[in-house]
Symmetry: C2
Subunit: 508 residues, 2 copies
């Protein structure tokens, strides 16, 4: 009763002839809240760690409105709700557009992609039947073929057309790779992956009711083809059918390492095994003439995972699952009378249900298609090259400083380092170990809690490393220097007072 006029704006629809007019003032409120939130945060993430963030969120959610809580009895209206909650989430974000937010494969989206995504939300096409998404489904079909051809090349001469499905990300794409192998070879299929493979490969096996993957050693973070050959030559540990799926990785989550794809493809071919390559991270190097050779052999895979919400600068989700021949996707075909009745399909209505394991599905392809057109292949190539170049620059800074040990020259855009002169791993005694694993973990958490930097972590070679995953093409040398200084300062503050002094084990 109190706020009838305020609440009226909350019932307007985003679509139809009047949708844009309804959206205009609300979107203005959102943009203001985003700007205010970024200003209030004034750093890569909010200060105070989980407890402080939970307190601020709780306070806003309880609010001063009637009823309080997440679901009040009476609404406060669209404008007030947007200002409060968008502001809250913006102020409390870990913002990947900040150069000091560099832990994960968590990219800062391009404004053009985020703007396109608004249209997806407003129009709300659902990609499970043509009559919910006429133009969007056609745009998806064309875009999927174009991206699959980027991976596999155009193979029109052999009568095959590369194709891709849009997924929620690498996890779903890897699951599809495993699922197609299961459908081809039965539940006895052997899964074989490197110890560097993404956790989603193991989760897919569990989900799909298969034996756990057989794990091949990955010394220095990449799959060893000789070891792979040995595993494939040996019997199935799990008593499977003997037909195998090899999963290789082009861009590991830990180190951005790329498995030797050509050699892996050779080994797989020799054993008659299928090959799925998880190129969620590394795949977009295909845009670049300079960097494409890093992925040589990718085109020999039976299926490929590719995420454009990593090196592709899309808002989540923009996953793809690509195959060299669209016919390989047929095991996903599925019928539901209300969505793709036989007589409708015969009458020419496209059958979309086999293009996903989901039913209702957002048109994530729109932002992707807009981005490809806005930037072109060369524009995307430049962003990929700038980002990988920044990683090489950071690695150079690390290598030049005796305080740090660099894991390896980056192949993609991940840089791993740790305090030099501490060969031992395994300790988890926080700062007390001065520069060992405990301190690496603790420095990361302190920088997080202080709202100063978002660093990642990786366990490799039995030791814990700081992980900097650079996905911001705009990052500059000065910001990389500042990041290292932050870590140096936090490590010094972390080290316990004592004979080693304020710098702990870190050489000055």
């Amino acid at each position: 009763m109190l706020c009838v006029s305020a609440v009226a704006d909350s019932r307007l629809l985003a679509g139809g002839a009047r949708g844009a007019a309804a959206l205009r003032p609300l979107v203005a409120t959102v943009l203001d809240a985003l700007a205010d939130g970024a200003r209030e945060r004034s750093g890569p993430l909010p200060r105070g760690g989980p407890a402080a963030v939970a307190e601020r969120v709780g306070a806003v959610v309880r609010g001063a409105h009637v009823g309080g809580g997440v679901l009040p009895e009476e609404g406060v209206g669209a404008d007030a709700a947007l200002a409060a909650l968008v502001g809250l989430v913006a102020e409390g974000a870990a913002d990947p557009a900040d150069p000091l937010c560099a832990a994960h494969l968590h990219c800062p989206p391009l404004a053009v992609a985020a703007a396109a995504d608004l249209a997806a939300s407003a129009l709300n096409p659902s990609m499970d039947s043509w009559d919910q998404a006429p133009a969007a489904s056609e745009l998806e079909a064309l875009t999927c073929v174009a991206l699959a051809e980027l991976v596999f090349g155009a193979r029109v001469e052999s009568g095959r057309t590369a194709d891709a499905l849009v997924t929620t990300g690498g996890t779903e794409s890897n699951q599809l790779g495993v699922l197609l192998a299961r459908e081809a070879h039965g539940t006895g299929v052997r899964l074989v992956c490197g110890e560097n493979a993404h956790h989603s490969v193991h989760r897919a096996a569990w989900l799909l009711g298969l034996a756990p993957p057989e794990v091949v050693p990955a010394p220095r973070g990449v799959l060893d083809p000789v070891a792979l050959d040995g595993v494939l030559a040996g019997g199935s540990v799990a008593g499977g059918s003997g037909r195998a799926l090899v999963v290789a990785t082009a861009g590991t989550t830990d180190a951005g390492a790329v498995d030797p794809l050509s050699e892996v493809a050779d080994v797989a071919a020799r054993h008659g095994a299928r090959l799925h390559v998880d190129a969620a991270y590394g795949g977009p190097l295909l845009f670049s003439d300079v960097l494409r050779p890093v992925l040589a052999g990718l085109e020999r895979a039976d299926s490929v995972t590719l995420d454009l919400h990593k090196l592709g600068w899309q808002p989540v989700a923009a996953g793809l699952f690509a195959v060299p021949d669209g016919a390989a996707l047929r095991p996903l075909d599925h019928r539901a009378e209300y969505l793709n009745a036989d007589d409708d399909t015969e009458a020419g209505l496209p059958d979309l249900l086999g293009r996903s394991l989901r039913t209702t599905r957002r048109p994530d392809v729109l932002k992707v298609a807009v981005t490809l057109r806005a930037l072109g292949r060369r524009g995307l190539a430049e962003l990929v090259e700038q980002t990988c170049g920044a990683a090489r620059e950071l690695a150079g800074l690390v290598a030049a400083d005796p305080a740090w040990e660099l894991w390896a020259e980056p192949e993609l855009s991940t840089v791993l380092f740790r305090p030099a002169g501490r060969a031992d791993g395994g300790g988890d005694d926080g700062c007390a170990d001065g520069g060992g694993d405990g301190a690496v973990a603790e420095v990361r958490r302190r920088l997080l809690a202080e709202g100063r930097a978002v660093l990642g972590r990786a366990s490799l070679d039995g030791r814990l490393w700081w992980k900097v995953t650079l996905l911001n093409p705009q990052v500059r040398r000065g910001e990389l220097v500042a990041l290292l200084e932050l870590v140096r300062g936090a490590l010094a503050a972390c080290a316990p007072p004592g004979p080693r002094g304020a710098h702990g084990a870190v050489p000055a």
Copy 2:
């Protein structure tokens, strides 16, 4: 070279201190393109059917830009790309905000929800670790508990806290219900569902490596508890373990019918079976004091599917999977060193990886939380009541007209009807059958092809029906009358000339 300045805008980021400023002009372009597209379409969907839409999409994608195609060599810049492709998808949309677009559970999103979704895209939190989504993950936790309590009530006294996971929709939520049953009872678990259950229950069984569900008759579209009792009392057809999961439906896709949940819960309890209720469609009746009784018994389920992208007016996706005790979700727990290392979890960083089968995950909760706060429980209740009221109004119009046969009074917001006086089913001879199944299918396709209406279809009782799924709370009586007149006209035009005349078998 040609368009350096035009392309510069395509590299701006949506986040950071300057993100809002970068978004502002691009969002203005999107809103203009949405308005222009709706005007050009001037109806519920584009004219000409799949071939015409494909031709228009192809023409725009080929475009006049250098290189042409989905992925041109050189980009055209953000503004030009947005104008071209958002305009294309808007003009070629099946717009659920149009009252004559009423085939599917495909809702017109609220402007407030679509605006909030822009913030999700711009900030790009990823919900798989706290350090990618500090405030967003906390907001999700609070919102999930509140919605789960809407389903199950607050049961603090018993030491349990209801909880929910955010999913991509009913398909994923149903899959989670089946997965938890598999984890509890092993791969021999018996799945038992009505013949009215959603196709995703069958697909989940296939995906998860289980025997197909045993199907219980659903005369008149709802699960028969007596028949269910008989199936559960009998042995497992598939040789399973005997422990069963019963899947009931609160709002079928075909007719919006609600299974007798209390009786089904009684039967399941008698046999020690778990109960999952797919309330993807009907669940939001819980917001309404008037309509909540339709769902009596829902709170006795072991798990519940709920979609707020149906009666909840969210852009896709806004799925939920709710359980009466959050501890039931533990089988989904999962570890990945880089996302939830033990020492990080012990140090207080929230562990989010078990809250989804996905890894990277968009904060779909933001738009939901904003909508709940903007409208309040009562605001949402009114929208649900208006929508269900419109369905009763349409059913009244159908029932009052001797030209039509009404399937049943709507329980939710779906109305099924067909030409009266044609008891026979099975024919698929298009218009030639004058008013039988073939004509029903053909009229639907004609209205689609002419861009005049988006009607659904359902096979029930051996006959084909037109399906009107009303999800637009703003629909008015006059528009419902117009919809029926469109169908009447198309049926008359469809009927073959001959002894029965232009009206075929339809009584005048």
